[in-house]
Symmetry: C2
Subunit: 525 residues, 2 copies
């Protein structure tokens, strides 16, 4: 394909992509294919002769689009969003064309320099403490995912505590043995509701992992007392906490750990690296009304949020801020001779490869820069606030049918969780409840599961909620996620795609009502 063929193909692709976005809302969000649908439609090896682009392009609509889950659809309300935007797509286009394995400054200086600058922009936009800006000892870097960030910081934490404890032991066999012994006793901590990435990182790092209780009565958040107790329990058992993931927006319910209290506690445990994972909710910190969450971050070691979730930058783009970049470099810097160059040696430039696990790097700051400039501070805040309002709207819908639904967690950063009410023992109570009044039995059951009648009730609620949930997803029109939290099976709804609107939430709610009534036998199937 030469540049004139690329011009033709590229223009056609732009039309194709615009058309895809224009028709997105009309498509069911989930594909209606079965596992293995694709293989019979494709040849089983690379063609001998090259093919024309027109033939390839026509296959996109024929076999690719039917297998997509449409994450940008307004009917996508599952997981957390993974938003794209047109300027971010343009960023990916330019990045792909300026293609480079930009592993150090000289490999493409602008890749490093723009990243440092836009990460400073982002830090200021979120009102992060000054220590996360690049002018001092810290700074920001773009990594791929929150999982990568958690692993990067966790391994650096492991090595930091070992360096501190073994600072007087000279390099050699004895030190290696001692370090290995220490690693075996180290334990990473996080909320019981933390994303699985911390556990996975602890496995990779070869250390232990333990959860900190965060029960319903604390709104699924880790309290200072709970964290202190877990730390002390570990120490009594001879295992040493070295890393704690503080959650700013848990996966299940978007719970926020007690950051202010934990910031105080951190002073007592200076060898525990505290990382704040704000993968989804962090984007809300661009709004002043959420920035009360920021000052405690100064007491921690690192912070990240995924701009690819809720801030309109295509996947992948996790913004990772570190207080002391030396803490990363001390672990990750390995400089073989082929990577030596006057710029890196001089210390005048940042070599981001020493802040991360891989060597090569994509030019991801370009899409961030395009998005921040296209929307501006105001546009981005409007975007976030729109979704916060949608969360409140959905909550209102739910509470209007308290006979059918029990809210488990009220809207947090746009996410509401609920379950369908069981008929079971309280069926009569339920059906006689006025539509807009919550059933006190459910409230009680959420506060205390010890009673066996309540256990039965919970079991029944799980069953009907599961039925309703599976029915919604099997239709494919909307996509929701369920999970289990505090022993309760819940449905999570978060409507935060760029195309989200009240009307889609209302349609989805109508479907929920219809299916719930059907499952509960209040309506003919």
């Amino acid at each position: 394909m030469d540049s004139s063929q690329f011009r033709e193909a590229g223009h056609a692709a732009i039309e194709d992509i615009a058309q895809y976005y224009d028709t997105l809302a009309e498509r069911p969000v989930l594909p209606s294919i079965v596992p293995g649908y694709l293989r019979p439609q494709l040849p089983d090896s690379v063609p001998e002769e090259g093919e024309e682009w027109s033939k390839i392009q026509s296959d996109i609509e024929r076999v690719i689009v039917p297998g997509l889950t449409h994450w940008q659809s307004p009917k996508f309300m599952a997981f957390y969003p993974c938003n794209s935007s047109f300027p971010a797509m343009l960023g990916e286009m330019y990045s792909a064309s300026f293609n480079a394995a930009a592993f150090n400054w000289i490999c493409s200086p602008v890749v490093t320099e723009l990243e440092t600058i836009v990460m400073d922009w982002v830090a200021k936009l979120l009102n992060l403490p000054d220590c996360y800006l690049s002018h001092g000892e810290g700074g920001g870097i773009i990594q791929g995912t929150a999982s990568e960030v958690v692993l990067t910081s966790l391994v650096a934490a492991r090595e930091r505590i070992i360096r501190r404890r073994l600072k007087d032991v000279p390099e050699g066999e004895e030190r290696m043995d001692k370090a290995a012994e220490m690693r075996g006793k180290l334990v990473a901590l996080a909320s019981e509701h933390v994303h699985s990435s911390t556990q996975k990182a602890a496995v990779i790092a070869g250390t232990r992992f333990r959860t900190v209780p965060a029960p319903k009565e604390h709104n699924f958040s880790v309290t200072t007392a709970a964290l202190r107790q877990t730390i002390e329990e570990c120490k009594v058992k001879g295992i040493e906490p070295y890393y704690f993931t503080a959650t700013l927006g848990s996966t299940a319910t978007c719970a926020v750990d007690d950051l202010a209290g934990i910031a105080e506690l951190a002073k007592e445990y200076p060898d525990i690296w505290i990382h704040v994972d704000a993968a989804y909710a962090g984007s809300a910190l661009i709004c002043p009304e959420y920035q009360h969450l920021c000052p405690p971050l100064a007491a921690f070691d690192s912070f990240n949020f995924n701009m690819h979730k809720w801030l309109l930058v295509n996947f992948d783009c996790s913004a990772f801020f570190i207080k002391k970049r030396k803490d990363l470099i001390d672990t990750y810097s390995i400089t073989p001779s082929f990577l030596r160059n006057e710029f890196s040696e001089s210390g005048m430039v940042i070599d981001y490869r020493d802040w991360q696990i891989p060597l090569g790097r994509r030019f991801r700051s370009l899409k961030v820069w395009f998005v921040l400039r296209t929307y501006g501070v105001k546009g981005l805040r409007d975007f976030i606030r729109g979704h916060i309002k949608l969360g409140e709207y959905f909550h209102t819908l739910l509470t209007s049918r308290a006979d059918l639904f029990t809210v488990v967690t009220a809207p947090a950063f746009g996410l509401t969780t609920f379950h369908v009410n069981a008929l079971s023992a309280s069926a009569s109570t339920l059906s006689s409840s006025p539509a807009n009044k919550p059933n006190p039995a459910h409230e009680a059951y959420l506060n205390d599961f010890t009673n066996s009648a309540e256990a039965q009730f919970r079991e029944d609620a799980t069953q009907v909620t599961k039925q309703v949930y599976e029915k919604v997803n099997s239709q494919g029109e909307f996509f929701l996620t369920s999970t289990v939290v505090g022993g309760v099976y819940i449905i999570r709804v978060v409507s935060a795609t760029p195309t989200a609107e009240e009307k889609y939430l209302k349609s989805m709610f109508d479907v929920l009502v219809e299916f719930s009534e059907e499952v509960l036998g209040k309506r003919k199937a």
Copy 2:
């Protein structure tokens, strides 16, 4: 930006990108900016109001392009290439527009299914042993970089040997202590010329790392005897080899370890995971004349090569093949309730998240599919063979001026390494040598450095080579890499970008000759 504005901006971007490629060969490959050039040219925070695209786009030419190193330029002969192609760029465009965090099958079925299919295509294209295809116990996955692949396989190797050794020890404290003790005694091995990624991965995994000698007399390759000796030496010292990176194309000289011999040796050490890192050279395996390297792979555990280096797929795209996918899943599978779904539970689908470190995944198979179809088997082989020929051409140029240059390693997969001859003691010999005849003193010196006169000679050669190298790069017209191998300071030349041509090699060679003569005082500066 709405879809009609995107249409306009997108079409302009396509023109811009085509224009960039059309003018690439005229630009110096290295930018002429100084560290910190960018910050004074940009505001220091996000603008309050959004900006027009036209303003943003004009900044690309104003501040971004001047800071680029042009990896696609025909004058880029540094490191290894990182090639893009127009179909791959189209792949990135569509991938960005179908944006999703495709961490399991249901998150976008086509992302998983196309990846499995194209990785099978790639395995067949390289004539990899059948065990690396998806129909059995193995299969392929796209990861970001070779560093990521090495870490992924190395940690899986660490856990596999622990599972095997501790299979009779029940879960619990005792087992954790034993596992920690084992990890501290485990050692990862690789050629002394291996890429730094293995050492970095060993640090992350918390295990030891030791190199296997691969001296000049074995063409910088690991022999079976050297590997056996290193393994046995480790065992004597009570440390246990559990992972070996076999190199198919080392970073410095593109050396290939003795794969056939190591495949035999592997039978004696079934607990050592052998991974073959063919990051650059692996692409050549698409040509039958290189496929004699493939049968030994059946004896190993995993294999990877970077399609983003030499096979026209944009960065990032490392093709990672695993013989038993269970070896990855046993380490990486952690399934919290929010990721449970009927498809994954049924075992009918692949969840690539259990084959890798991150959770989310980009739709990278699309660009691979576009490239493979656009070029076809023939087109891809022609592409590789063209670069092999260019390597031979450059070698011919070098040997035509044996008075100035000594070839250290003859072209291997297009890469030639050499140094500038020192004047020093043998200056008179040198200047009297006919231009096309190698100087026997240099040959001798490469074979034996023990003699102190030769040590002096080597020191002098290093100095002049370094001067010439730095002068070439400081001009910015061409970009080369230097390194040190077997105590010799060498310049590496590999001309394997899509736009590479003899004429650029010839121009660069003329510059080398000019600067070498100048440095050696044979020509007026």
